[in-house]
Each structure stands twice: as structure tokens, then as C-alpha cells.
Symmetry: C2
Amino acid sequence: MEPGIDRLRQFVVQATRLADQGLLAEMPPASLLTAFQRLVSHDDWLPADCARPDPAHYQQYLLHCDPCERFCIVSFVWGPGQSTPVHDHTVWGYVGMLRGGEMSQRYARTAEGGYEALGEPVRLAPGEVEVLSPRDGDIHKVWNAQRRRASISVHMYGGNIGAIVRHVYDTRTGQARPFVSGYSSRQVPNLWDRSASVRAA
Amino acid sequence: MEPGIDRLRQFVVQATRLADQGLLAEMPPASLLTAFQRLVSHDDWLPADCARPDPAHYQQYLLHCDPCERFCIVSFVWGPGQSTPVHDHTVWGYVGMLRGGEMSQRYARTAEGGYEALGEPVRLAPGEVEVLSPRDGDIHKVWNAQRRRASISVHMYGGNIGAIVRHVYDTRTGQARPFVSGYSSRQVPNLWDRSASVRAA
Ligand SMILES: [Fe+3]
Ligand SMILES: [Fe+3]
Ligand SMILES: [Mg+2]
């Protein structure tokens, strides 16, 4: 196992404790954002199985889902030049760049009922975190900032994002079509094998 | 994913709710034993990755670990004729036979300080559950009842069993040697991809 997998386990435990206090039902406290930013500032923990790009489509590897589905953590792996449609999330989210880079363009509804780009595209660099708030507007299109290399971001959401009905948007007509993203793998990393450090203690 | 993986997910959710009420700190309520017995009475949910025997040694595939380590669920895969040493658990446990069969021999401490077999070996058949209680004596030796085929049992424990210091016993001298079992895989099944049934709803 990658030496740093404890990093992810400890973050999961911290998030679970906050969830148990009811603090992940809305945008979490600043302490969690700080911890998440620290997690994505070290690129020594993501298992290789959760870092593989696919030539045809970006990948969403579940890293952890809270058993009560109050939050989840996903690695989002971009092949070179891959992009998303314009979409929303319906729950709060953190997008933390781990490796490479992403471009993100926000969209807002127009008076005519379509959607238009709001501001300039923003680049996310390793160690940086973007916060998504449906209340403040989370509709966006995202793409790999690297044309010839894979990039990886780590996402945290206030729910089991792969099982949530959310939407892709036709920006011209404003039509929202439902979609459910699912996950790219039938397995998740084993965060719980602490046997080596227990034996060494 | 196997059609029945929801079975395991629903069991995990039920157990998590009981843990949240503090009811897994000691031997759980009868309702959980009933649900566990029902889980192991259907052999349609265990992923193939968690059912593979190894020619050299029995395998312990983590299926789920509670993030607060209040319980875990493991598939225990026996190659033909494989056995354990005499050992304990230090936490409560359920052993449910899923496929094939196991033989289990209990041991008790003698006046001289060694350990001797207590009663006859007991065979566990598919659908049957043995309850382990350290308080009542859980020291045993277990082996595959099948000499030429693999067998599989599903275990539930009141802790993260792979990270717990427990003991193997020299029955002649009574000496207890600490051991930590760890797990056989770096991955666990993804129980959380409900996307197909959400889309169908
Ligand atoms: Fe997004
Ligand atoms: Fe045992
Ligand atoms: Mg580092």
C-alpha cells in the first residue's frame, strides 16, 4: 500500500466525526476544508488502481463512501484533453487538484432561459481546492488543462455522488437532462489494514 | 456487480445503525444475528475477488470496515485442507458458513496451564452461524471440512479484526504468542454504486 494511505484514512475518520455531529449536512466547517487542502497537497497516497486514465472517458473512482451516505470521496482521472458536459451536483463539494491541472467554466441562467458562461475559465493547480455550493451556483463545465497528459483531482461531496440524480445542461435551450454518474470501479481501496504499524508498535 | 451485493450493503447499513446506538460494543442484539444468518443463507452476492483461495494459505478479504472500527465483515476463504493454528479473537464474532464447510474445535485451559480440546469438533454447514464470545471462551482451531475443495465463511467481528492484537496458542505449554492478522487484499468491494437502480426508478 502507498505509504501515505493513512493520510486518506485519517481524513475519512475526521470527516465521519463531523458527520456524526450533523456538520456535513450543509457546507462543512472550515477545519474540514483545511484538512482536505492538506490531503491534496501531498501526492503520495493515491493507489495506482484509482489513478488510471481511460482513453475514451474520464474515470470516477470511489475512494470512500460513508455508510450512511452523508459524504463520499472520489478520485477523478482525466485522460489527455477530456472534458465534462455542463452539469450540476445538487450537494456541496470540494474539488482538490492532486496532479496536473483542470480548467473550470461557470455557467449562469440567462433571462431567456438558456445558460451562459459567467466569468473567465479558472485553472486549478495541484494543492488548490475549489468549493462548490449549489446555493451560490455550481453549474459548470470542467476539462483537463493538460492536452497530452493525464490529470487527477480528488472530490468530496455531501452525499453518495455516484447515486445522486443530477443534471447535464443544454446551454442553448436551458434544458436540464437528469443523469446519475455511478463509479468506474467495482472495488475501493482498503484503508483499514493497519497491521504493519500495529505490529511495529 | 453480483445481483445480490445490495444484500451486503443493506446488512452494513443495519449494523452501522446499531453501532450508532452503542449496541455493538458487546454481543449484538438477536436481530443482527438473524440478519447475518439470512445474509449467509444466500450465496449470490460475494464478489469473485473476495472468493479466491490461495494454494499456500487461507485468505481474509475485508468486505467492510466501519470507519470508527466498531465492526468489520470479512470473507474467509479456505483452500482444500487448510487450517488455522489455535487462536483467539478478543472481540465478539459471528462465523457464518457461505459455501462448503468448516470444522471447529474448542480449547480450554487446563489446571497445568496448557490447553486441551473441549468437546468434539463441530461442523458448520452453509447457512449456519457460530457465535464467538471471548467471555464464554473463544479459543479454537478451525479447518476446511472439505479436503479437495475450497470453502468460504463470512465473519463479523466487534472491531477491525485485521488490526487487532490477538493470540495463537501452543496447547502443550499454554504459551500465547501475539499475532495481528491483517487482510489479504488492498481493495474492498464497492458497495455504493446504486446508479443502475437509481436510473431504473
Ligand atoms: Fe463538477
Ligand atoms: Fe477464529
Ligand atoms: Mg509527500
